[in-house]
Structure formats: C-alpha cells, structure tokens
Subunit: 123 residues, 2 copies
C-alpha cells in the first residue's frame, strides 16, 4: 500500500457544512441565491420548525447564512439567504466532496478490473 | 420556484456513514478491500487511537465493518475490513452524495449564465 499519511483525512470537509441538515439547507440556498422563505425552506429540506431554526442559527453564527425577519400581511416572515462568504466556503467544501467521490470511484473501478482478471469472460 | 417538498432532503445520506471520521474510514477501506491494519488506518485518516476505536465500534455495530483481532510477533494486531453489506450501503450513500454535487453544480452554472446576461462581454 503506497498511500501516505492523511491520504483519506479530508480535512476540508468543514463540519459546520457537512452536517446532514445543514448540507440540505445550504444546497437549497445555493440553488436559490435570491433567498428562500423559512416555511418553504422547511418543506424543501424536510425539517421541523425547531430543527430548521436551530441549524439556521448555527449557520448564521458561522457567517454562512443571513436570516432577515420582517412582516408580510401582518405576519412574521423570515427570508433565508446564503452569504457571499457562505457560497465561497460551500464551493470549497464541495471540491473536497468531489475528491471523496473520485477516490471511491477509483476503488470501485480497480475492484471491477480485478474481478474481470479472476473471472475472464468465456471465449 | 417549482421545487417540490423534500427536494433537498437527501434522505439517503445515512448518518452512520456521513459523519466525517467514518466517511474517511469507509473510503479508506473501500479503496483497500483486503483490509487495513489499525495503525495504518489511523495514519491514513489522521485520527487518534481513541477516535478511531470509537468509530470502528460504531461501524462494526452497524454491520459495515469487521475488526479482526490477532497476534503478530506477540503483539496485538487488528485488521479492519469493510463488509459486503458495508460496501453496498457505502455505494448507495455515494449515489446520494453525487446528487448533492449535481444539484450544486446546476446552481453554479445557472448563476454563471445569469451573470453573463447581466454583464455581456464587450464586442
């Protein structure tokens, strides 16, 4: 095995972004750069009120998302948007994710070619 | 916005696999199907003894990994291997990860074409 120290450490997999619910939220928001209303975001990500609130707070504290509260037709309304910095960090994270997929795909291909050598097709 | 309920929920992102350290461990193991010795795995994933032990226990309890203890030159030796079921679940997880990347890439391309329309190149 020629693989070196930290070869599979994936240090760039930022834990703030990597958490499953937050990855859903950020992928929704990066796909809708004008922002998404809280209730719609909740539905897109399949999250509960409490869960979405909690994760939006974490993302806002980390500077990845802005949550703007206002009133629409006398009802409270929250617009959630990814920030410029959030977008930059999300894209950086994505590049590491692509590396994981690349590594796994390489492994799958290698295994397939080994299987072929062990069980050649009949001629 | 025409996106439907749960569009970005990514239910297939199995939390047992998605956790950052466990994703490292499984990607190492899927890339080395004959197994990896505990100490080498620790180095490849950049984990401490305690962290690797804890996550290997979780992965073994979930049926994704087998940890075989033996003695080599009178010293304890643990060989870690991904199970057949682990491999299957990892590849299923990977397909959802590719969907996340696909969604984000689509968003990035859409944004790029909007920017081009707003700032056409000088002729």
């Amino acid at each position: 095995m020629s693989e070196s120290k930290g070869r599979f450490a994936y240090d760039g997999l930022d834990r703030v972004i990597h958490e499953k619910a937050r990855l859903s939220i950020l992928t929704s928001l990066v796909s809708n750069p004008k922002g998404i209303a809280f209730n719609h975001l909740k539905s897109l990500c399949g999250l509960t009120d409490g869960n979405l609130s909690r994760h939006l707070q974490i993302l806002e504290a980390a500077g990845l998302v802005s949550n703007t509260k206002s009133f629409v037709d006398n009802r409270p309304h929250t617009l959630c948007k990814i920030t410029a910095d959030g977008r930059k960090r999300y894209l950086k994270y994505l590049a590491v994710l692509e590396q994981v997929i690349g590594d796994a795909t390489k492994a799958a291909k290698r295994e397939l070619s080994t299987t072929k050598r062990q069980n050649p097709l009949p001629v």
